[in-house]
């Protein structure tokens, strides 16, 4: 689910880069405020590599299969490191597999990265509601994962359809965006369940991997 080169008009491409620059700057600022920002670099890098590889897992949805995006889980585990991690992951996707593109890297990073940061804040609600049990964390994990992908799907189709060079009429556009987003609802729910299962797995096996406040 990446926007390839050549589809979006240049102003959107440039706005994507400007927005990505801004969010990256803000994320790095938040990271640099941490006690030892460099300590998080190997963790974020290896988890970026792990997420990159984990996205090769295909979930059977007969008659086909879908692969996971996991941007919600990335936000849940990495917090503000998630945005640079997604930017790097997308750069590798574009360079190694030609998924997405170099000119659309900024737009794709915003599309995946902003929902990841939103997912981080959803998971942080565990402190506000004092959630410490695995079931509660799994529920938050579900919403983080589903929201991460759900928002990305919505941004993806809105950008794609509203920026086709030969424009559709407004009604067709709205119908197409709603239809395509709804068609992805089962995948969004699937990603939510998968994230919930992963959060409970990590809580049982390596609880220190879940971010602290």
């Amino acid at each position: 689910m990446h926007i390839p080169d050549g589809i979006l008009p240049a102003p959107i491409v440039l706005t994507g880069y400007a927005g990505t620059g801004l969010v990256t700057w803000y994320s790095l600022r938040r990271i640099n405020r941490q006690e030892n920002p460099q300590a998080g670099v190997p963790k974020a890098s290896l988890l970026t590599a792990a997420f990159f590889v984990a996205s090769w897992i295909h979930i059977p949805v007969p008659p086909t299969s879908v692969h996971l995006i996991l941007n919600g889980l990335l936000g849940t585990l990495l917090g503000y490191f998630a945005f640079p991690a997604i930017l790097i992951g997308l750069l590798f996707q574009a360079i190694l597999f030609q998924h997405g593109g170099l000119s659309t890297l900024g737009v794709n990073a915003l599309m995946m990265g902003l929902p990841a940061i939103a997912a981080h804040y959803i998971f942080q609600l565990r402190y506000r509601f004092k959630i410490t049990q695995v079931n509660g964390l799994a529920i938050l994990g579900f919403f983080s994962g589903a929201m991460g992908l759900g928002l990305a799907v919505l941004i993806f189709f809105s950008l794609l359809i509203t920026n086709l060079p030969a424009g559709l009429d407004v009604r067709t556009e709205q119908a197409a965006i709603t239809g395509l987003a709804l068609a992805h609802l089962p995948v969004v729910i699937l990603e939510g369940f998968f994230t919930a299962l992963l959060v409970s797995f990590i809580y049982r096996v390596k609880p220190e991997l879940l971010p602290q406040r």
Binding site: P4, G6, V13, L47, I88, G101, L102, P165, L197
Partner: protein, 252 residues
């Protein structure tokens, strides 16, 4: 596991010998200029320029063809739909469907832009070892945290990819088959992804300790910056001139 974007980085060509920093500036400017192009008259110029760069880089045709396959599928679907969905001027009718002129022209425009930008990306990253390209980005002001993350991610993607392959093989050997979607399948696949994440996290702790022992974080980074030759500068000026020319032709 090998993904091979820089498999041909050791070839000899003017593009291979171009200073990576200048190559990054020049080709990125050209890619951005290409993404501006809306005028159909400029498309042949884009195609010829791209072909010249690829030819000069002496990268094999097979490499280009292989790299185009996967993204080409997504684009093919979009391009098949567009002439039927977008536009007002009907060119032809196939049963209940109309083929629109605007949609068809959009197909040509998107395809040429897509192929040209993708090809220039291959020239950019296929003609230097990947570490050199990251070093060039670092010398152009990429923040140290991003540069370190990019290098470490690249260093470990292949290793973690190998973990993943062996874990998946082990699951298959134990009789796991993921043909049906049910709770059990989902749980097993989540455990596979979770194990991968936990193993990577544990590895990252070892890596961090090893990095600390080698002086990581002591602000001793020295970026080696080779001096540009006359040829590097001429190539950069030509490429930037071309990018500016395309932009001007698009605007006026």
């Amino acid at each position: 596991m090998k993904l091979g974007i820089d498999d041909y980085a050791q070839l000899e060509s003017p593009i291979h010998q171009w200073l990576p920093k200048y190559k990054l500036i020049g080709l990125t400017a050209l890619i951005l200029a290409f993404s501006f192009v809306q005028k159909l008259a400029l498309l042949p110029l884009m195609a010829v320029t791209t072909a010249m760069f690829y030819q000069t880089a002496r990268l094999p045709f097979k490499f280009w063809r292989q790299r185009l396959q996967i993204p080409g599928t997504f684009l093919a679907v979009l391009l098949l739909l567009l002439p039927f969905m977008a536009g007002e001027t009907v060119l032809a009718e196939i049963g209940p469907l109309n083929i629109y002129r605007e949609g068809l022209l959009a197909v040509v425009q998107i395809s040429v832009r897509f192929v040209c930008i993708l090809t220039l990306g291959l020239v950019l990253f296929g003609t230097a070892p990947f570490f050199e390209s990251i070093r060039a980005m670092r010398s152009l002001g990429l923040p140290p945290i991003l540069a370190d993350m990019t290098l470490l991610t690249y260093r470990y993607i292949f290793e973690i990819g190998d973990y993943f392959q062996s874990m998946r093989t082990a699951m298959k050997l134990r009789g796991f088959e993921s043909h049906r979607l049910n709770w059990q399948t989902l749980k097993h696949l989540a455990a596979l992804a979770g194990s991968l994440i936990v193993r990577s996290y544990e590895k990252s702790e070892q890596v961090y300790k090893a990095m600390l022992l080698r002086g990581y974080g002591q602000n001793m980074t020295v970026i080696y910056q080779p001096k540009p030759t006359r040829r590097d500068s001429v190539l950069l000026s030509l490429t930037l001139g071309l990018a500016a020319g395309i932009l001007l032709a698009e605007v006026f």
